[in-house]
Symmetry: C2
Subunit: 352 residues, 2 copies
Amino acid sequence: MTPAHTAHDNTPASPATMAKANPPSRSANPLERLAEALKPDMAAVNALIIDRMQSNIPLIPQLAGHLIAGGGKRIRPLLTLASAALFDYKGSRQHKLAACVEFIHTATLLHDDVVDESDQRRGKASANAVFGNEAAVLVGDFLFSRSFQLMVEDGSLEVLRILSNASAVIAEGEVLQLSTTNNIDTTEADYLKVIGAKTAELFAAACEVGGIVADRPAGECAALRDYGMYLGYGFQISDDVLDYAASEERLGKSLGDDFKEGKMTLPVLKALAKASPAEKDFWQRTMCDLDQKDGDLAEAQALIRKHKGLDLALAQARDFAAKGRKCLEALPGNGIRQDLAELIDFAVERDY
Amino acid sequence: MTPAHTAHDNTPASPATMAKANPPSRSANPLERLAEALKPDMAAVNALIIDRMQSNIPLIPQLAGHLIAGGGKRIRPLLTLASAALFDYKGSRQHKLAACVEFIHTATLLHDDVVDESDQRRGKASANAVFGNEAAVLVGDFLFSRSFQLMVEDGSLEVLRILSNASAVIAEGEVLQLSTTNNIDTTEADYLKVIGAKTAELFAAACEVGGIVADRPAGECAALRDYGMYLGYGFQISDDVLDYAASEERLGKSLGDDFKEGKMTLPVLKALAKASPAEKDFWQRTMCDLDQKDGDLAEAQALIRKHKGLDLALAQARDFAAKGRKCLEALPGNGIRQDLAELIDFAVERDY
């Protein structure tokens, strides 16, 4: 990816620039900035996650821990914390609910890796590769159930409604993705439906729940939800762009995974829309028939570049980012709101 | 299986016996009798199941329908209906919650078949064999989420607590079963832990929920729960006995599945407890190393017979049945209670 501007990338700024733009203690990356601002909350969430993934069956914390300790950006629980903090909510309900959101996400990752037969996740061996598909499916089920147990402890039917709806929509998105994978007739509308369901829905729910615990009016909760939805779209499109553009080392997973699996993501759909008959044959052979040979990924990248697939996809992601920032205007204007506004740009422009 | 007495088997009784024992219109099988007594309720549940497994993603109802239309005894939703009817509950909440219970069960079957790599379920091709493992995992997730959506619609946090706990325990039981499968060191205590979690827990929850909707005191709900738990133990032991003893045609699935997969069920554990060194080698080779050849299943059946494995297992199942019947004494003595008392014997003594 060669984004037109990388406002918040992760390369160290010179001390002089740092001093000018931010106080020295502030990270230039809004994700890190939010994590810093919400550090005690995030520590409480991490402690809860470790505590509540325990079971008398040792394989469960072993397997769950493999994935959870593997890191990841923890962006979804952070969104719940940030949304509650936006309203200066002083209680601790958001900790448990942020853990719920992360458990649901972890469960879908476990099932996703089984579905995709992935052998890597976050730069290390995937849980299914280490522990077997059976255990990955079942521990996913456990984390999913545990998440609902935590919601019941919290006791809000509204939160249960939001997160059970999100879970159903995620599963629908994943099933829909099965029918778009290796399918040359996939449209951009199909693609947007898939990423809306499998990614944006949980971002939206994570944000909305923060408003619910802070007991905010429906309009504000809806604005948060919409913000999360747009953030999710932007985040996923960026992810799909990075799969053709990132440096493998920074991405922490193999480049070209979507290509290898024949996932019809936006950069490919953009290139397909302008493909010559010969190019269309190439996409059919490589992504639909999965008949791939050395050099095909490079050829795919060249075709995407030729048709400006990354730029066009990123432009669409930036549209979502602009809409997401707009949603924040209905919400209180504290420092968290500024970080959330910058986060949505960062989600789109990041290079890892 | 050659049970010592088959009180409620499915072979037609002579007209004379029928007339003496039951009015001619009553089935000799308490499961069918309950289904008959609760026919309008069960019709409402079936309609709800069909209605709520729908989705805009056509593969979801196709796959779910394959399994749900495939029949099965519907014993779990029937337990919820019967438990509510035991108290003459007149509302309709039990319909939605019975559908929840069946969705959870269906989701676990889908994931179970993926885990076991089964190609048959209820006498026909399993969903994963027809639609692929990926779809089976994801549609299982959908049904599971849908079940929680239905519970939220019902609005009882107590029901949500019971069924989210049951779901977590089921997943734990399935994970535990992974470590007992192909493991010659499996103890009877391990086996009971597995079947308690993967089977009895949902039977218990299905019954308890019926008491909750009827708004009964905690003691009565607990008695129902305990009844369901014992019924589940008895039902599963009987299932495991049938896998070595039933006629394949009546069972609706292949005989010897547990043997082929190396599941250490009670009949095998009974035979193992008295095995000679050579017999132990046989079990090790066939069930742990899964090095099986023609005639091994017959040899396994002979060894189980030699050590009275089926009789001993059934005796244990009958103990559970007696305890379950005892729990019913704390509950109202209407016709449903009588059917539930006979159901627990039937669950143990059935030959299919």
